[in-house]
Amino acid sequence: MGFAGLAVGAAMAGLKPICEFMTFNFSMQAIDQVINSAAKSHYMSAGSVKVPIVFRGPNGAAAGVAAQHSQCFAAWYGHCPGLKVVSPYSSEDCRGLLKAAIRDPNPVVVLENELMYGLSFPVSDEALSEDFIVEIGKAKIEREGKHITLVSHSRTVGFCLEAAEQLAAEGVSCEVINLRSIRPIDSDCIEKSIMKTNHLVTVEGGWPMFGVGAEICAQIMEGQAFDYLDAPAVRVTGADVPMPYAKVLEDGALPQVKDIVLSVRKTLHIHNDATQRV
């Protein structure tokens, strides 16, 4: 609470602070400063108070850190007007989104992932250049496909890609969308994809109720892509339980590739043990 508020105050007075939470679980104590001081001030002051701050840190589950250290805050922060919220997957995402967040005059929450910090990704020279940014609010199609759209953010994008590989061997072509931004969310990209594939599965690490997937499904219902759905959209999420400690339980609380594959097969009416397709 104290240092988060101090950072917001410094931003209001003209600096460009980056406030790091050791994990976003600890931001729950400081959340009043993020929402009431940072997110709402520009609005409340009709534009005279600016808060060019970045809040960053690991979000969501790590490994074996139990209930108080494993919560995903994408839905919590994504809920609030005045904030921008990004959730990088690849190295390119991390670099580009963080730089975009810093350059953005609005308060931005950058949800990183502890388990991904050590992973390497190939990066283009362009991505290493000084002014490389990833536009906030624009998703990336990580893999093109034609039978079903998988929409995800952060670590679970990797699971979607794995599931897509697995399903490709059965003749199912999945389009994998990496959201990159939670707020604003790239609904155009999702809609365009659904209008092509006619099927949707959302995938996230956070809890199901009132989550990122729930929001996507609601937006699809209200928008033009609804008429293109050939089956109800379904969500793959973390289980609706506090994170248990024991590995055998933790594995059941977090979405796996098999949950994505199951959801794709159910949505496309494919039997588990055959490549039959309706």
């Binding site: 250290h69 969500r235 793959v236 289980a239 609706d240 506090p242 339980l249 159910k266």
Partner: protein, 257 residues
């Protein structure tokens, strides 16, 4: 042992983990730094309310000592004369940050301001015992007290902390050799002939054996049943079910009253 290794016979049945162990009169560790202090004040509040002659102890570290909620707890405890013993375990490092880099005042026993405090040599077993004995009587008659135990941490703070990037190995070695609470106490006992070297050998062997047995038991024990995943989320007189990771399977929650 069972809890740390996430076995089902552990005090939290494998669900809580190393940071969250519970027992009779022990309300657990808290992973969110400082959050346990208002909880401790709350337990003291309940004891006072029930007039049961019990006290509460709320322990926190030097890192947590700068948390705002501690000062709110001190205020309420002093205002209402709560029988609460606040204990700062000052092991000189908040994870990896040395105390003088984090705190404007490192006299943690004074940080309660209007709550009186005592600094105690946390490496001296007898001093710790006497301080707690004194405090238990004191808070029942006078309201809160703030103890500071000056101590040391040999290993890193957690699995994420190697423990050597912010201090020298020599420092750790020195403390272990000259200030270790167990070895210094042992030497004191030997010095005044309260025990013999053979007695010490026997105690050491017994302790080692106990730890080895418990470890073996824990490792041989089984991990929790998968059906425990969604149990104990609520107190409920009828079974519930909760969403799993996909839309097609539900997780059962047993009734528990």
């Amino acid at each position: 042992m069972d809890s740390a290794t996430s076995r089902k016979l552990g005090c939290a049945k494998g669900k809580g983990g190393s940071m969250h162990m519970y027992n009779y009169n022990f309300y657990g560790g808290n992973g969110i730094v400082g959050a346990q202090v208002p909880l401790g004040a709350g337990i003291a509040f309940a004891n006072q309310y029930k007039n049961n002659g019990s006290v509460a102890m709320a322990l926190y570290g030097d890192g947590a000592a700068n948390q705002g909620q501690l000062f709110e707890s001190f205020n309420m405890a002093k205002l209402w004369n709560l029988p609460c013993i606040f204990v700062c375990e000052n092991n000189r490092y908040g994870m990896g940050t040395a105390v003088h880099r984090a705190s404007a005042s490192v006299d943690y026993y004074t940080r309660g301001d209007y709550v009186p405090g005592i600094r105690v040599d946390g490496m001296d077993i007898l001093a710790v015992r006497e301080a707690v004995k004194f405090s238990k009587k004191y808070v029942l008659e006078n309201g809160p007290i703030n103890l500071e135990f000056v101590t040391y941490r040999y290993h890193g703070h957690s699995m994420s902390d190697p423990g050597t990037s912010y201090r020298t190995r020599d420092e750790v070695k020195e403390v272990r050799q000259s200030l270790d609470p167990i070895t210094t106490f042992r030497d004191k006992l030997l010095q005044v002939d309260m025990v013999s070297k053979d007695d010490i050998k026997a105690i050491d062997a017994q302790a080692k054996q106990h730890v080895e047995e418990e470890t073996a038991k824990a490792l041989a024990s089984t991990e929790p049943d998968f059906k425990q995943l969604a149990n104990d989320i609520y107190i409920t007189d009828k079974p519930l079910s909760f969403r799993s990771c996909n839309a097609f399977e539900k997780l059962p929650h047993e009734a528990n009253i």
